[in-house]
Symmetry: C2
């Protein structure tokens, strides 16, 4: 059975018109689906409004207790529920979840030798049984990037990672397409030319492109992650613009990454 897992980033969430257009395309997408959303600028605005200082270490936001409170409010409250209500209005049977709900995604507080990231979670387990049951109830799941450690602690968790872990975990029961929406049209041969999208890459192509140093360096971590997902059973990973969602799954837009 087909399952599409789609991650949208803050650039879509922050832009009302783009978000609504995206949610329309998402609703029209056939088959079972999960939407994983990131944060956007609202958390920063709410934190500023409440006088909570953002603590950055090496350019990374540290999730102290106050920041966790804000991201929980904004991601699991405002953003998740607004997306769910809008999808419902479009006729899409959306249901919002964090990783704490039904123990959907269990994580642990990040351990790092030199940086204390605070209340940031690294994923340990995805509750595929729960998620499969909800998908079988014909629900469309909308996942906020908040997980828990099973001991009562909520944890701020990277939405790209959540999408990837869901895709890996659910690959045992579904043919999973993992779609990362992104500010470019796909993987580009030339970073300056949005028309230079590589339509389809497999592992051999990727090795060749890397060897020839044709590929834009900034894409390498994304592609490495994509191939890791494919090695764990995900059928395909697609990178492209959220606005082109309906054409991403058919391969008409974006870059489709397959194992071979």
């Amino acid at each position: 059975m087909q399952l599409s897992i789609i991650k949208i980033g803050g650039n879509i969430i922050d832009d009302e018109a783009r978000l609504l257009a995206f949610l329309g395309s998402f609703t029209a997408l056939p088959g079972k689906k999960i939407l994983v959303h990131g944060g956007g600028k609202l958390a920063t605005r709410v934190a500023e409004g409440l006088g909570i200082r953002q603590n950055l270490v090496d350019g990374r936001r540290i999730t102290d207790e106050e920041t966790l409170r804000v991201v929980t409010m904004v991601y699991a409250g405002t953003i998740n529920k607004q997306i769910v209500a809008r999808l419902q209005a479009l006729g899409c049977p959306a249901m919002g979840l964090t990783g704490a709900d039904g123990n959907a995604i269990l994580s642990h507080k990040r351990v790092h030798p030199s940086i204390d990231y605070g209340f940031v979670g690294d994923v340990d387990a995805v509750n595929t049984s729960l998620l499969t049951s909800l998908l079988m109830l014909e629900k469309v799941l909308v996942i906020a990037p908040i997980t828990h450690d099973g001991k009562g602690q909520l944890l701020n968790t990277n939405a790209d990672t959540i999408a990837q872990e869901l895709a890996r975990g659910l690959s045992a029961g579904f043919d999973v397409s993992l779609i990362y929406s992104f500010e470019k049209s796909g993987v580009l041969m030339d970073a300056e030319d949005d028309g230079s999208v590589i339509r389809r890459i497999n592992a051999a192509d990727y090795a060749d492109l890397k060897a020839r140093q044709v590929i834009f360096a900034g894409m390498i971590p994304k592609l490495d992650n994509a191939f890791a997902a494919l090695r764990s059973g995900v059928k395909k990973v697609i990178i492209g613009r959220a606005e082109e969602l309906q054409f991403l799954l058919t391969g008409e837009s974006g870059t489709t990454i397959i194992h071979e």
Copy 2:
């Protein structure tokens, strides 16, 4: 099949120690269960922190757009997810929902001849099919007092009303006990004497107590609502202290209200 629907108010939510004790008793409660939580003072504190003025008309808070944003953040984000994570830590398979999630509770924006309550929802329908499916997946539902109108609008909704509507709707498939936690030990013969709890009231007792003007006037709307719920099929309504939860269901504490 037995189902307990328990409403807790802001006085419990605002008090960390009482909340944790309550969640322990709630977890220990046998059978299928739903927790409906109210708001507490956190929404007011966050609104004040963000400089959002509270708009009161005749002592009632008006839910303007900014206030709706705050209650959605606080009720569906902070409070709901903290309760869910804590219940999970206690081994209770909690899952949080608003009325928008899976279209669980559909409402409409309140229409009132003279007061514009703003984004306040009056409940139209409870999605018993969804809620029953989730209960059958052995999930314990934690409901935040936010509903939606099916057209993309979230609405602030009274938690007592939500508990009652859930109880009525689910009575077709379950033997529902509806429990309102409350700051007193139950329905009192003497409002000043917490020891004067009436242990059990049926419709005939109530008519008699009202005729003799024995009952505390402030309890009348609560009791009228309770009897209305019983007339719609709810098996019993129990009013008592959250701290005595385990004894409320057995009838050892609080006031149990039954039809006859």
